[in-house]
């Protein structure tokens, strides 16, 4: 009987495509918007993830997320180093500065100051120049996307000069870096250089990056650092989630995306539901004939649900496929953030299942109450 249900469904191609379109529309919108949302969330934590090496981030107790800088006194580094279980600890500066370009224009930049001695926190993928060149006077490494934003269409070139806080900065390297939420160019330099590039403040240390000693867990060392210094110490994973929770709870981003996703859900349900209902009404005599010939209500229910699920599976596949293609397309021109983890696929799948079940509810009612004697009415 499921075979008959399937034949009935695809027999009317226009209606079938209409129902599938509703589900495709919903799946596409839900998957695409959810993936852009995930991409945006990924941007908020990109600078934490980009710092490879240290497990532990130490910061002011009131810091809520990675861009919420509350400077520490430089002496905090030594207090952290003194905590048992800390293998090593280094300073890390993070701030936003205004750069004056050779052309006379100004550009906001994210300035990252990494440890002078170890260069912990330096970018991984250096395309031009080398990390070691940061030891030269006034040296900075800039990220490739930032470079292309400042000097669009120009070839990557070392030796370009600009000013930050009236101090000369020379590009000695160009590196890849993850996109950030603010989408400003990222400039890496030594910590001692960064405090000169940054506006003068009494305290300038943004974070202390530390590593747990062998045999110690990062979480245990974090607890010890907090107890002994009164600072906030988080593992990289904890800091990632703290930052994400901040954006989820304190910004309108989830609500905005949620509204779009909800709209996709509702419109998809409406289109699919209406077309599916019309399809059922159109076939009501056929269902009546099947009932007259001895098809039970459970079988009829199974047939309608099978039709709905069939539409759902096709609609889901096509919708998610289009969303993935959209993601691939945007990746190539690199402006939009798009990240489609398995959770997005699962959520979209559940939403599509709900859509087809809701869409089939009216139809199910219609076929269950249809009187088999309807077939005797001309």
């Amino acid at each position: 009987m499921l075979w008959i249900a399937w034949k009935m469904l695809i027999g009317n191609r226009a209606k079938y495509l209409g129902i599938v379109f509703g589900v495709v529309f919903a799946a596409l919108l839900i998957a695409q918007q959810a993936s852009i949302f995930c991409g945006l969330m990924l941007l908020t934590i990109s600078q934490i993830r980009d710092v490879q090496g240290p497990d532990i981030w130490v910061m002011d107790r009131n810091v809520q997320y990675v861009d919420d800088i509350k400077p520490l006194a430089d002496t905090e580094l030594f207090r952290v180093k003194g905590v048992p279980g800390v293998e090593w600890a280094v300073r890390f500066y993070k701030g936003i500065v205004r750069a004056r370009l050779e052309e006379g224009s100004y550009e906001q930049m994210i300035l990252l100051g990494i440890d002078d001695d170890t260069l912990v926190g330096a970018p991984e993928g250096v395309l031009l120049g080398s990390v070691a060149d940061l030891r030269k006077p006034d040296a900075v490494i800039i990220d490739k996307v930032g470079y292309q934003k400042i000097w669009p269409g120009e070839p990557l070139r070392l030796g370009r000069v600009f000013e930050m806080n009236d101090r000369r900065a020379v590009i000695v390297g160009i590196a890849t870096a993850s996109k950030t939420f603010q989408s400003f160019p990222i400039v890496y330099t030594r910590y001692s250089q960064a405090v000169l590039f940054a506006p003068r403040e009494r305290k300038v240390l943004s974070f202390v990056l530390a590593e747990a000693a062998p045999g110690e867990t990062a979480a245990a060392v974090c607890r010890r650092i907090e107890e002994q210094t009164g600072l906030q110490a988080l593992t990289q994973r904890q800091f990632v989630w703290k930052t994400l929770r901040h954006y989820l709870a304190k910004t309108g981003i989830p609500i905005n995306f949620g509204i779009t996703v909800l709209l996709g859900f509702l419109v998809g349900t409406a289109i699919a539901g209406q077309t599916f209902y019309l399809f059922t009404v159109e076939n009501i005599r056929q269902f009546g004939a099947l009932k007259a010939m001895g098809t039970g209500n459970w079988t009829i229910l199974g047939m309608v649900l099978f039709q709905a699920l069939q539409v759902g599976i096709v609609g889901y596949g096509v919708g998610v496929g289009f969303a993935a293609l959209f993601g691939l397309a945007t990746k190539s021109f690199g402006r939009l953030s798009f990240f489609m983890p398995w959770q997005v696929l699962a959520i979209t799948g559940v939403a599509v299942l709900l859509i087809v079940l809701l869409a089939s509810l009216l139809s199910i009612r219609k076929v269950l109450v249809v009187d088999p004697a309807i077939v005797f009415r001309g």
């Binding site: 009935m8 009317n12 001895g294 088999p372």
Partner: protein
């Protein structure tokens, strides 16, 4: 098949309509009974009750020795599946299925495998002269051919009661005659009763008996020309 004092009301209170007013009728196996009468006289209501697709308001209905009135819905569905074949005025073929697939539907409902069901349906269609149109969709068949597919569908599972509702009203005279000849030749069997609802006087000649209805009652019950011819 036997029914006694069957009444059927539609609606309630002021809008109550009495479609059947105490119908008594017996149809033995091997007989083709025609229910005739003007529109609205209760023919379709009566045949719906006899086929187990409609509940009577009062009265007794016994079909193949089973009390339809006392039967649960589930048992009635099973009863129809196993014992009743239907030929509808509007054919009610599934437009997406081929002739053979349409004719196989009762077997599929009964749980047969698809290939076996379609093969069995093909044999019946062959007997009805549609052996070369097994793979045709209903839209590719003429009205007469569609009705023959509907007859094959009604007979494929070997029902003991065949109910035909206005089987010729959507057909021209020639196709109507062919359809009735097929019903007469193939459907009427010793172990099977056939009830044909019609107001098409051209096909009365095929009846063993004619029950003439008027205003919810059986007005007269006479031997049909076919029975007279046979005698």
């Amino acid at each position: 098949m036997r029914c006694r004092g069957v009444t059927k009301d539609f609606g309630t209170g002021g809008s109550l309509t009495r479609a059947l007013r105490g119908v008594d009728l017996d149809v033995p196996s091997g007989e083709l009974l025609m229910l005739v009468g003007p529109s609205g006289c209760g023919k379709t209501t009566l045949v719906s009750i006899l086929a187990g697709t409609l509940e009577p308001t009062a009265g007794d209905v016994t079909v193949l020795g089973q009390d339809l009135v006392a039967m649960s819905n589930g048992r009635k569905v099973r009863f129809r599946r196993e014992n009743v074949g239907f030929v509808f005025q509007a054919f009610n073929l599934l437009p997406a299925l081929t002739a053979a697939e349409n004719a196989a539907v009762p077997l599929l409902i009964a749980g047969w495998g698809r290939h076996a069901a379609i093969e069995a349906a093909g044999a019946v269609l062959d007997e009805l002269g549609l052996g070369d149109r097994l793979a045709s969709l209903p839209s590719e068949l003429s009205g007469g051919q569609q009705q023959r597919v509907a007859i094959a569908r009604a007979l494929v599972h070997g029902p003991r009661l065949l109910v035909c509702d206005e089987p010729t009203s959507a057909l021209d005279a020639e196709n109507g005659r062919i359809t009735m000849e097929l019903i007469q030749r193939i459907a009427v069997q010793p172990g099977r009763a056939v009830i044909v609802v019609t107001h098409d006087a051209r096909v009365y000649a095929f009846a063993d008996r004619i029950a003439s209805m008027e205003d919810g009652r059986i007005d007269s019950l006479t031997a049909g020309p076919h029975a007279a011819g046979s005698a």
